[in-house]
């Protein structure tokens, strides 16, 4: 059977909404359209009931209590609320925040904003495998540290941080711990109590739910986390996030969470087998390709590979019937490659040569084989026209060469 093109292999960017989720949502646009905050008529009661059910479904996925789920517009808002909300609420206790260089921009830029407001932020480096050093974390903690924010799984390289260990350290020191868990929740087991997480950002559209809805898990006991709201208004979501609830979106989020909980084990087994197949087939066809980040501590559906001597954007152009992402951003004056890959210390040239593959619920073996074979032929062709490949084959050590960058930089 011929494979259907184009192929979507960018599930870290977003996922299609599962048809079962869409089905669950539909009545909440027209039939049950009430405002969940309307307390005095059945339209409102219906909506509130639907939201409560979804709240429980989301909570069940992460081992939380339904009361600990604050619905937001998405994970960017959740990250902002967690970090700014803690910073503002605990200002008297301290002004120091610890995060990491490979965090999502929603965390990094929020921390940068706080630095302008007088907070001090430590951006922990990562080791070659993409994980932070726990000793480094311990050393960074001061008596002014109020928050540690470390993502569960990275959106580019899929590397999973030692969350339970970080949670333990945070708890020992009495510091709040937030994790951006967007890429991990629904894909790998994630339990807020096992991991000792105080706050976690989640997004529906990364787990086969709709866009525009997310949540922040906020611990209510041991300790009870207090957040200064960042959006003022009607006092929805226990006063932490005002704004009329996106009922249909929340219903979809709940359904998506339930499906992930029930199907995670099967999805994980299938996707990690597909991912390994993709990796093996690429390695069979090509030499000098390198996996970025830890293979062991990694999301089952992620593969991020650098194809040495070939630039990522030209690679994407050669596989234009396949949707993937490149760590190369040859679109700005600075030509900066991915800051995540740079942080691994692999060298900018390899960062420019990288492709991120994200597999998902509808990925097939045929698609994986098609993508691997197509990439093999495109990389081979581009290497034939790569001066770097030619030099390397002549035995020149590229890292010691003097490069002329006339007119640039």
């Amino acid at each position: 059977m011929a494979v259907k093109l184009p192929i979507y292999m960018d599930y870290h960017a977003t996922t299609p909404t599962d048809p079962r989720v869409v089905e669950a949502m539909l009545p909440y646009f027209t039939q049950h359209f009430g405002n969940a905050a309307s307390r005095n008529h059945p339209f409102g009661w219906e909506a509130e009931e639907a939201v409560d059910k979804a709240r429980k479904q989301v909570a069940d996925l992460i081992g939380a209590n339904a009361k600990e789920i604050v619905f937001t517009s998405g994970a960017t808002e959740s990250d902002n609320l967690a970090i700014k909300g803690v910073a503002e609420m605990y200002r008297e206790k301290g002004n120091h925040i610890i995060t990491c260089v490979t965090e999502h921009k929603a965390v990094i830029d929020t921390c940068k904003r706080l630095e302008k407001d007088g907070y001090r932020v430590t951006y922990l480096p990562v080791q070659k495998d993409g994980r932070i050093s726990l000793d480094g974390l311990r050393a960074a903690i001061t008596d002014k540290t109020i928050l540690i924010s470390i993502m569960t799984a990275n959106n580019e390289i899929g590397v999973i941080q030692p969350i339970a260990e970080i949670g333990t350290i945070a708890k020992e020191k009495g510091i709040l711990f937030h994790t951006d868990a967007v890429q991990a929740v629904g894909k790998v087991p994630f339990n807020v109590n096992d991991l000792k997480v105080d706050m976690a950002s989640i997004s529906a559209h990364k787990m086969y739910g709709p866009k525009g809805v997310g949540a922040l898990y906020v611990r209510r006991r041991n300790p009870r986390v207090l957040l200064a709201p960042q959006i003022d208004g009607g006092g929805h979501e226990r006063g932490m996030r005002s704004g009329t609830l996106n009922v249909a979106g929340i219903v979809g989020f709940g359904k998506a969470a339930e499906l992930c909980r029930l199907e995670m084990a099967a999805d994980t087994a299938r996707l990690s087998a597909l991912r390994d197949r993709l990796n093996a087939r690429l390695h069979k066809g090509l030499d000098e390709i390198y996996i970025n980040g830890s293979v062991e501590h990694r999301l089952p559906h992620n593969l991020n590979i650098s194809f040495a001597y070939v630039e990522g954007e030209s690679l994407l152009m050669g596989i234009n019937d396949v949707a993937v992402s490149s760590g190369s951003a040859c679109t700005s004056a600075s030509l900066e490659p991915s800051y995540v890959l740079k942080a691994l210390g692999a060298g900018d040239d390899l960062a420019h040569s990288s492709i991120r593959f994200g597999l998902g619920r509808w990925s097939t073996e045929e698609e994986v084989d098609y993508v691997a074979d197509k990439l093999t032929s495109v990389v081979t062709r581009l290497r034939e026209m790569s001066p770097l490949y030619e030099l390397a084959k002549e035995g020149v050590d590229l890292s010691t060469m003097q490069w002329q960058t006339e007119g640039q930089h």
Binding site: Y309, V310, E311, G312, E313, S314, M317, G318, S328, C330, T331, S332, A333, L335, P337, G347, D348, D349, H352, E384, M385, S386, P387, L388, Y389, E390, L398, W403, Q404, T405, E406, G407, Q408, H409
Partner: protein, 142 residues
């Protein structure tokens, strides 16, 4: 990113990919850019010593589609031009021909740099061989 049809054509059917013998005194080699910037171009010209006309041009490029297209186009334009005519090629001519968007102008700049570097290398070799008896410019270009 939307590429112009001409960029796509050069990317899919690059003209004059390959290498000329860089020790040949009539061959000039330009290698510009840097891997960490995501662009490296190698451009070579072979000049007919009696006419001063570029008989052959080859390139190899590590870079995005626009960088590949810019260097491919440059080799097309170089063939049949004299060395002085070649030096008159401006990056803006490449931008216009390939309809490069503003974020890709650096690709055309690099192609112009590569042309200039190749011709400078050729001229240096000529000076070296002409002036060999006088023992000036005796440094190999390595």
């Amino acid at each position: 990113m939307a590429y112009s049809n001409k960029v796509i054509d050069h990317y899919e059917n690059p003209r004059n990919v390959g290498s000329l013998p860089k020790e040949d005194p009539n061959v000039g080699t330009g290698l510009v850019g840097a891997p960490e910037c995501g662009d490296v171009m190698k451009l070579q010209v072979k000049v007919n010593p009696s006419t001063g006309v570029i008989d052959d041009a080859k390139f190899k490029t590590f870079g995005c589609g626009s960088a590949i297209a810019s260097s491919s186009l440059a080799t097309e334009w170089l063939k049949g031009k004299t060395v002085d005519e070649a030096l008159a090629i401006k990056n803006t001519d490449i931008v216009t021909e390939l309809s490069l968007p503003p974020v890709k102008i650096h690709c055309s700049v690099l192609a112009e740099d590569a042309i200039k570097a190749a011709i400078a290398d050729y001229k240096k070799k000529q000076d070296t061989s002409v002036g060999k008896s006088a023992d000036t410019h005796a440094q190999p270009t390595a």
